[in-house]
Symmetry: C2
Subunit: 330 residues, 2 copies
DNA sequence: CTGTTAGCGCTTTCAC
DNA sequence: GTGAAAGCGCTAACAG
């Protein structure tokens, strides 16, 4: 900056003002300064800037999601939002977002991040490490077990409703459901949505056609095998795409063809699976990109008004609708 | 730090030395300082430190891999290596690592990163943006089209050999191969490995049993359908797991059961697919974790001796062996 | 082994 | 609209 100042015959502070678009410089000098900066190949030093202004352009993301195909969308959504405000993302991958290696949080705090986003692979309650007290935190795809931190989660109920509606709209009426572990918020919500959709058409829900299974293709296979060999169904809602993958297998072995004999809808929109299953799987997408975006915005917003988890104010809980992704399995 | 100094009755520099484990402090004072720091809840300010020492604890990762299931391993490997040296990772996701948004590189450079890792989803030549001249760069899972930058890539040839060997070891002798676009380094290398493995056993390679296909399940399906309905094969090497996914489908439709009638081996070890296909797919893993680790180490190493792309010194090209992952399809 | 003294590169009152 | 001056929190000679 001294070089630039000398070059244009101004003081360092004048240059600083010009470069930061402060309003107290004439447009003309601003232009001269910017030109000189470019010529000299000037690049601001983020550390110096953040030290002097005691502000930071860094935000943290702590997540286990980095191991999943969803990470991309989440990160992209968050990054876009941060960048549009000139902020950057410090990402740390961990197996347990609710108790990340102490070092990783420490590191973010040493960098004086403006806030931290905690994101999980599957929707669940987490307890926020207390090292984070006094720091703005937003939970994405998870929520605070203690109810003190804001979060953004998918609308599981609406998702279940949407999935079921896809089946119903295709004229299917005998709808089975292969659900996840019923303790999961995702399982509960999706099931409720399923019931609501049936209810709207006056269809009696039959508990016998709703089974729980392990979240994997194996579980889906077993559950579907059992379900389809004992019940006459023309539609099947699998609470995730991996489950549906197993169900395809089972349907095949039972001589049922999709979607002629039975329509199938999944959940998650896990591309590798949903797009390449044959027939391609209709599903409902988890809105990770959107959740990342919203989370980032809330975080930047709350940076101004720091966290007071104790003051009893109601914490925001943003619920994002999961969009349907129709393909060939219905 | 002043508070700590006052508390223990030392100068600020003494405290700095103590905290940084310099050898010029007595163990006793060091302990007193550390204790005081803990009591006062002292947390070093990364910006101040990096400004004063003109060193940085930040390294950058520019990648498109964040959208894939492999990201986790790559990031974990890199992160581990960096952390063990007290460095952190600034990650920026982009669709095109070889021409990332200008802003993202600019941001990393403003943070004075010690170096930048560029990683891609599939092995290919890239051109390093010239904004990076003068910065240490390591390419991971890709390599410099201009040949001036060091890189770490999988040993594709060895991988192809390993995959083929798995089939051979199971007694299979009529081995077909569904390859990727032959222009890709991965396709070339894996095919060479396939030929070498056959050659070692004196098996005549038959060009007619090697076909190229689009990299997806669709491509694998078409290719396998054609291959298996015109040739008698007892083993099939698919150059990636998605291809294998399609091949499973084709085999099923042709009444061939895996692994009784035909053994199948994939490549990539894409968990969602390989683990949940039935039977589970034997494959060869891309060593992302290892590549990330090595890349990080090379980067930290070259930080000391900055990049001189022009000086004609030979650039390192580390080749990492891809390990076999046997499952049930052989 | 300890303390003094200069900064690192930038922002930001506060006067002019 | 501009400049002088005082730091931000920390490191790193250097002299004791």
């Amino acid at each position: 900056m001294s070089d630039i100042a000398r070059r244009v015959g101004l003081s360092r502070s004048a240059v600083s003002f010009a470069l930061n678009n402060e309003n107290q410089v004439s447009e003309e000098t601003r232009l001269r300064v910017v030109a000189a900066a470019a010529e000299l190949g000037y690049r601001p030093n983020a550390s110096a800037r953040s030290l002097a202004s005691s502000s930071t352009e860094l935000f943290g993301l702590v997540t286990d999601i980095v191991t999943t195909p969803f990470a991309g969308d989440l990160i992209a959504g968050a990054q876009d939002a941060f960048w549009s405000k000139g902020k950057s993302l410090l990402i740390v991958g961990t197996d347990h977002p609710d108790r990340p290696e102490k070092r990783s949080l420490e590191m973010m705090l040493e960098h004086r991040v403006g806030g931290i986003m905690v994101a999980t692979t599957y929707n669940r309650p987490i307890k926020v490490p207390k090292a984070l007290d006094g720091t703005s935190v937003i939970l994405v795809h998870c929520f605070d077990a203690a109810g003190l931190r804001p979060s953004v989660v998918p609308d599981e109920e609406l998702g279940g409703y949407t999935a079921t509606k896809m089946l119903l709209d295709a004229g299917r009426r005998s709808l089975g459901m292969i659900n996840l572990d019923p303790d999961l918020p995702a399982a509960r919500g999706r099931h409720e949505g399923y019931l609501r959709a049936l209810g709207e058409l006056g269809i009696q829900p039959r508990p016998s056609v709703v089974v729980s299974a392990g979240a994997d293709a194996d579980g889906g296979y077993e559950a579907a095998k059992q379900l389809l060999s004992t019940q006459r169904l023309d539609g099947l809602f699998c609470a995730n795409d991996r489950l549906a993958m197993g169900a395809y297998q089972a349907a095949g072995e039972l001589g049922l063809s999709i979607p002629q004999d039975i329509s199938v809808v999944g959940f998650d929109n896990q591309e590798v699976i949903a797009r390449f299953l044959r027939p391609a799987l209709s599903t409902v997408a988890l809105p990770f990109r959107e959740m990342g975006r919203i989370g980032a915005e809330l975080l930047m917003q709350s940076e101004a008004e720091p966290a007071h988890p104790e003051d009893g104010r109601p914490v925001a809980q943003v619920v994002v609708p999961p969009p349907p992704v129709p393909r060939a399995s219905i």
